[in-house]
Symmetry: none
Subunit: 232 residues, 2 copies
DNA sequence: GAGTCTTTATGAAATCTTTATGCCCAGCCT
DNA sequence: AGGCTGGGCATAAAGATTTCATAAAGACTC
């Protein structure tokens, strides 16, 4: 950390839009890093850990929607989508994929800055109550920063959905989380009634993380309601 | 559980906009309450505790900006501003006053719904790390947020209907609740005269929660009328 | 082609509904 | 007084229905 200015990542291929944003943001004291492609963007999010991501939908390699989905597999960093697509359908898709805001080009710098401040507020509130980068329960350890799960010290590989389901449950540890809530958080609002997904993935998590999958210690079912992660 | 639908408060004076939103939101399964003035809105936020606030800026009494500021003095409930003012200056002011999003009229219902889902996601993440209201009576403890019942510190498993019956009784603690009222709240209006359901489930609750089920301390029958939960 | 996600199928488990039985108590009759 | 009767109740348990767990087959992706 050379300096403590708020770091913003811009994923955008048009040079003139980049120039415009560079000026606007730096004049407000933000530090800006840039990526011209989706895949470079994904790498930079992981390596630089920006406070906010500004994402153009029309990228040369990966579509912005996909970038959003990939990011949401492991991070909750605010994503503000910036796009020329003004169709309502595009907005809904992006927001449901996990974006936090959607601005249509052209837009004013002041509005963007205000929306950035909103996202920073959210992030601050979120971090306030999230003091454990590493979660532990019994012989199970989850490192949210490394996206790593250890059982008895040994690393267990989880697929993206398995990991998201696990972390969602852990965030609500010991609380019953309803089917719809889990599905909305992990699969998105469109899949909110695909209860069978949950059954399948719960079985997989138990298979991988329970001593005796048939007599679970962590992943408790509450019939007719949802599931609960039991931390003790 | 009178209703587990997400509660949304709409603060808006134009009747036709209210009608439009009422239809859109209710079709998605949200429960909507309405306020026509800013001052009424402020009261309702406090009394009904909605999950989200939809706020029109042009209200007859207080300006929406002021409403936002007043709310932000004590609550972080998401506020989505809905306004005809499309000036960038207005947006910036509202967002900086504490609003979480800003939609300019006219807007599509789908976009609003998507932005509501974004706000609900934020709220859920925020609430994940919070502590909860707990009801206590004797050695019985009910944690509404975890949906968990403890007796003498030990966890007692309740089925969905048992739990709803218990919480309904507790919500009216020490008051007699009539048969029909209980049946309506727990089983729905169609089963309002299936009194035998109550007998069966009362017996089960006593079995699980009373020291001596035959001589109940909590679950008191009021012959011919209904039941009463005795808190001491 | 390996890894992952979605879909389908099936038996098991949990829950809900219904039925059956006996209790207690009040009122009523002889 | 004693016994009969019926309403309201508690409880147990059988039947019906819903929900779950799991394996495994298809579909999709890189």
């Amino acid at each position: 950390m050379t300096d403590d200015k708020t770091l913003i990542l811009l994923i955008e291929d048009e040079p003139q839009m980049r120039r415009f944003l560079r000026v606007s943001l730096q004049s407000q004291g933000y530090r800006l890093i840039e990526a011209e492609t989706g895949s470079d963007g994904l790498v930079q999010v992981a390596s630089r850990q920006p406070a906010i991501i500004l994402l153009d939908l029309g990228l040369p390699d990966i579509d912005g929607l996909e970038v959003t989905e990939k990011l949401r597999e492991w991070t909750t960093t605010p994503i503000i989508v910036i796009s020329a697509r003004e169709q309502e359908r595009d907005k809904v898709r992006a927001l449901d994929a996990g974006a936090d805001d959607y601005l249509t080009k052209p837009f004013g710098a002041d509005e963007l800055l205000a929306r950035i401040r909103v996202s920073l507020r959210h992030r601050a509130r979120q971090e306030a109550g999230q003091d454990t980068p590493v979660f532990q329960a019994g012989k199970l350890q989850v490192d949210f920063n490394k996206r790593q799960v250890l059982l008895d010290g040994e690393e267990i590989h989880l697929t993206p959905l398995e990991y998201r389901l696990l972390t969602t449950l852990i965030r609500h540890a010991d609380k019953v989380v309803t089917h719809t809530h889990l599905l909305r958080e992990v699969w998105g609002p469109r899949q909110a009634n695909q209860v069978q997904y949950l059954r399948v993935y719960m079985a997989q998590l138990r298979q991988k993380l329970e001593d005796d999958p048939a007599r679970p210690r962590f992943f408790i079912n509450e019939p007719g309601i949802g599931y609960r992660f039991k931390s003790e």
